[in-house]
Amino acid sequence: MRAARSLAGLLVTAMFIALAATPSHALQIKRVTLNNGAILLVSEQHQLPMVTMSIAFDAGSRRDPAGKAGFASLTARCLTLGAGKLSADQFNQQVDFMGSSLSVDASEDFAEASFTSLKKYEPETLALLADVLQHPALHDDDILRKRAEVIAAIKAAEQQPGYVAGVAFRKQMFDDTPYGHDADGTTDSVSKLTPADVRDFYREYYKMGSAVIAVVGDVDTDQIKAALEKELAGPAGKVTPETEQTPPKVPPGVHLTIIDRNVAQANLIMGFPGMARSNPDYYRFQVMNYVLGGGGFASRLMAVVRSRAGLAYSISSQNEAGKFPGSIRIALQTKNRSANEAMKLILQQVNEIRDHPVSDAELASAKKFLIGSFPLKIDRQSAIAGYMLDIELYGLGLDYIDKYPGYINAVTTQQVQEVARKYLHPDAMIVVAVANQAEAAINAKALQEEAKHN
C-alpha cells in the first residue's frame, strides 16, 4: 500500500510505514540561537510521522535551597496541572486525545520539559507545552494535591530496598551539598513546601534565555524554528549559572551505614567521590570501568561475583558524572548471608585493578565496545533528543560523534591504572547496606581489613 522497498523475496507488512531509502546515516544536527537566547538543536528524521521535543532548563534539584529538598521536582510536576485557559483535567484530556505524551521532570542537573506526538498533532502539542512553560496555572489546591501525591509516592518507594539504599548513599556521599538528596526530596522536606514556593521556583529558573531545545523527527528546521519563536518566546531572561559546587570528600576509613530491614537480599552500594562530566579523566575512567564493572558480562565484577560465585543476579559499577563532580558506585543485591563474602570479592577486584595493569586484550575489548556500540545510543528519537541535549549542556560539540573514537582510542593501559588509583579508594569508602542484619551480620571489621589489603 505504500512505496516499494527492496523486498528480496519476502513479504513486508504494509503497516510499517515505508522508510525512505536514505543511505546517509551521519546524524545531521542543526544548531541555531533563537531570538530569546535559547539554543535550538534539530535533527530531521522523516522516516516516521512523529516528533520528539525536549527542553532543558537550569532548574534541576541541585537548585533546591537547603532544607527544601524536592523543591525543583515538585515545581516541575506542578507545571502540567493546567495551563493557559485549561484546567488540569482539560489539559490531561487534550494531551491524551491526541495520543501525545507530555511531561516536565527534574533530575539533579536540569529540569526537562518534553513531548512526543504524531506529526499531525505536533503544532497542538507544542502549543500545550508552550502554555505549560509560559502560563502554568499553579493553583494552590492543585499544588497541594500534587504535594500529597508526591509524599505518598515517596512512602511507597521507601518499601523498595534499592531506593532506600540510593537515598542513604547520596546523603553519606554529598551530605548537605546540592547532590546530597534524591530529586524528589523526603516526605518531611516535601511536606514543608508551599504553593508560593513552587511559584517562586518557577519564576526564578524557567527562563528561555538559558534553555536548550532538542527537536527530533518529522519536522522542517525553518518551520519549527519559526513556530518556537512565535509560540515560546518567553519566559524571557536568563538564569545565573553556577560555576562551582563543593566536590564530595570521603575521609579515610570505611564509612558503613546499615539500614536494618526485613528483606531477603542485602542491597549494597560501595562508593567513592567521582568527577564532573567535563573532566578529561571521564573517558579514561569509562575504559577502566568497562573492565571493572561497567561492561556487563565482559566485566570482572560480573565474572567473579555472578558467573563464578553465583552470588548476585545484577552487579555493576557506575560513574555518575554530571555538571559537577558526582560519585562512583558499585551496586549489587545478594542474599543476606552472602553480603560479607560478596563485598570481599568486590574489594579484591578493586584492589586488583589498582595494583595491576589491565591486559592488552581487556583494553582492546573495552575500546571496541565503547566505540562500536555508539550507534546504539542514538537509534531512536528519545535517545537522539537526549544525546543532543547532552552535547549542548556538557559542551561536547556537534562533532562529538566523530571525536568520540579518538577520545577512547587515546586511552592507554597506564592511564587505566592511573584513574583506578586516583578514584577507587577502598580505604576511604562509603558503604550502604539495606539488609536483614540478623542474617547478614555485615562485618565492618572484616571490610576494613579487606580494604587495607593492598
Binding site: 527492496s6 528480496a8 523475496g9 519476502l10 513479504l11 507488512t13 503497516m15 510499517f16 510505514i17 522508510l19 546515516h25 512523529m50 488540569a88 483535567d89 484530556q93 491524551d96 486525545f97 495520543g99 501525545s100 506526538s117 501525591e149 505518598a152 509516592a153 511507597a156 518499601q159 523498595q160 532506600v164 542513604a168 575521609p251 576509613g253 570505611v254 564509612h255 551505614t257 539500614i259 536494618d260 530491614r261 526485613n262 537480599q265 561492561g295 556487563g296 558480562f297 565482559a298 558467573s307 563464578r308 553465583g310 548476585a312 543485591q333 545478594t334 542474599k335 575489548s365 565496545f369 562500536g372 556500540s373 550507534p375 546504539l376 542514538i378 537509534d379 536483614n436 565492618a444 576494613q448
Partner: protein
C-alpha cells in the same frame, strides 16, 4: 518470510533508519510447557544458554557480541523465550553464527553457580517486591489446572531441585529449528542476511517433536480471594479476571480498548478517579495482553496511599467497573482510546527491537501479517462491544482478588522510629579496629 528445510521460520525486514540491526530468535517454549515440581526450567535453560557451547566458554557469547559493538540479552515468558542482539549493522553476521552455534552445540558449564544466580533473581524480583509477590499468588489462585498457575521464574524449591540433565533434555526437545522463529530487522541487505541464516541454521537437525500443551482451565464459577502477608508498609491489591486471547478476535480487541479507557493516560478513568480525584492510590492500572498463547487474565491493580483503607479503594474500583458495564462509553472517550492506540503503534516503530518483537510474536501466534490487522481491528470496536465484554468478563464471579497485608519492613525486634529502618552508622577511622 522463508521456511528452511528443517522447519525453521525466518522473517527479515530492512529498516534503514539508523546504522543498526537486531537479530531475534524466538523458541516456542515457556513456563507453560513445564510440569508441576519442575517449574522454572524454561527460564533456567535461558540462563544456561549463555554458559557455553562445544566451541565457546561461559560468557564468551556476550563478550564477542560486545566486542562487535553490540548488546545481547534474553527473556522468558509463560509462552516463549526470546534471545536478541542489537548491533552495529556491519557485524550482524556475528550473532547469526553464534545463535546457530548455541542451538546446535549447546554444552553449558557452571550449572550450580547459575542456578544460584537465578535464585538471587527470584529474591530480587519477587521476594523483595511486594507487588510481584502479590501478582504471583493471585495468578496461582486464578489458574488451578492450567500451567499459567506457576510463575515464569518458578517456585524457589523447584528451581533448587532442577538438574543439568533436566536442562539438557529440555533443550533437545524445544530448541529445535521446527520450534523456532527468527526475526532480523535493520539496516542491511535482506538477501544477504537470508542467505547467511540459511547457511548457518539450514543443516541443524530437529530433536523430538514437542508435546502440545493440552491443559484447559475450567471455567471459574464464583469469586476467589487470596491474602498475602508480606514485608511492606503500604497496602495493595490486584484483581484478575479470566478473559479470552486473540483467538476470540472481537472480544480481545474490545478488552484491549477497555483497558485503554480504564488506565492509559492521566485522563483515564482509574487514574483520574483513584489517583487524582479521590486520592486513594499512588497508582492504578488495568492491563491486558491478547497475545498470550492460551486465554489469560485481565488485571486491575492499585498501590494505595498510606492510610487508605483497602476496602475504600476496592469499592471505587467496583464502581468504575460497574460504570463500564452499565453505561456505554461516549464517542469522544472511545475516539481518545483509539487515538492512544494509534499513536503508540507508530511510536513503537521507532525501535527496531520492538518492531522485531511484534513480528516474532504474531508469527508464533500463527501469522506475522496479523500485525497489519491490529489498528483496523481496534478501529472497529464499538461502545456496545466494550459494554458487552465488561458485562461478560469483568464481573465478580469471574474475579480473583489478591490482597496484600503489609507486615512492615522492619525486622522483628528492630527499633522503630526512623522511616528508613534502624540505622547504625559505623564510621571507621584507620586503625580504629584491629
Amino acid at each position: 518470510m522463508q521456511t528452511l528445510g528443517n522447519g525453521l521460520t525466518v522473517l527479515v525486514l530492512e529498516n534503514h533508519k539508523a546504522p543498526v540491526a537486531t537479530f531475534n530468535i524466538f523458541y516456542k517454549v515457556g513456563s507453560r510447557n513445564e510440569q508441576f515440581g519442575r517449574t522454572g526450567l524454561s527460564h533456567l535453560l535461558e540462563h544456561m544458554m549463555f554458559r557455553g557451547t562445544k566451541k565457546l566458554k561461559p560468557e564468551e557469547f556476550s563478550n564477542i557480541i560486545q566486542e562487535n559493538g553490540g548488546m545481547d540479552n534474553a527473556f522468558t515468558t509463560a509462552d516463549f523465550t526470546d534471545y536478541f542482539e542489537v548491533i552495529n549493522r556491519d557485524h550482524l553476521d556475528v550473532p547469526i553464527s553464534l545463535e546457530a552455534d548455541r542451538m546446535a552445540n549447546f554444552d553449558p558449564k557452571g550449572f550450580d553457580s547459575e542456578k544460584a544466580v537465578v535464585m538471587e533473581e527470584r529474591r530480587m524480583r519477587t521476594e523483595d517486591n511486594p507487588a510481584d509477590a502479590l501478582a504471583e499468588i493471585a495468578q496461582a489462585q486464578a489458574f488451578l489446572a492450567h500451567p499459567y498457575h506457576w510463575p515464569v521464574i518458578g517456585w524457589m524449591h523447584d528451581i533448587e531441585g532442577l538438574t543439568l540433565n533436566d536442562v539438557l533434555a529440555y533443550h533437545s526437545v524445544y530448541y529445535s529449528p521446527q520450534n523456532a522463529v527468527i526475526v532480523a530487522v535493520g539496516d542491511f541487505d535482506a538477501d544477504k542476511v537470508l542467505k547467511q541464516i540459511g547457511e548457518d541454521f539450514g543443516s541443524i537437525k530437529n530433536g523430538p517433536k514437542p508435546l502440545p500443551v493440552t491443559e484447559i482451565e475450567p471455567p471459574q464459577e464464583g469469586a476467589r480471594q487470596v491474602m498475602l502477608r508480606h514485608a511492606a508498609d503500604v497496602p495493595a491489591f490486584a484483581e484478575a479476571f479470566h478473559v479470552p486471547n486473540f483467538k476470540d478476535h472481537n472480544d480481545a480487541f474490545a478488552l484491549e480498548v477497555a483497558s485503554e479507557i480504564l488506565s492509559d493516560g492521566k485522563s483515564s478513568r482509574l487514574y483520574k478517579s483513584l489517583v487524582i480525584d479521590k486520592r486513594l492510590a499512588v497508582d492504578a492500572e488495568a492491563s491486558y495482553d491478547m497475545t498470550s498463547f492460551d486465554p489469560g487474565l485481565f488485571w486491575v491493580s492499585a498501590e494505595l496511599r498510606p492510610g487508605v483503607k483497602t476496602s475504600d479503594a476496592l469499592a471505587e474500583i467496583d464502581r468504575q467497573l460497574q460504570a463500564l458495564r452499565d453505561t456505554p462509553v461516549s464517542a469522544d472517550e472511545l475516539r481518545k482510546a483509539k487515538n492512544l492506540e494509534q499513536a503508540d503503534f507508530v511510536f513503537s516503530q521507532d525501535s527496531i527491537f520492538r518492531e522485531a518483537m511484534l513480528l516474532g510474536l504474531y508469527q508464533m501466534l500463527g501469522d506475522y501479517r496479523m500485525v497489519d490487522q491490529y489498528l483496523p481491528s481496534i478501529e472497529k470496536v464499538t461502545a456496545a462491544d466494550i459494554q458487552r465484554v465488561a458485562r461478560q468478563y469483568l464481573v465478580e464471579n469471574n474475579r480473583t482478588l489478591g490482597i496484600l497485608i503489609p507486615t512492615g519492613v522492619l525486622p522483628k525486634g528492630a527499633g522503630g522510629g526512623h522511616p528508613g529502618g534502624a540505622v547504625q552508622h559505623v564510621a571507621l577511622d584507620e586503625g580504629a579496629l584491629r
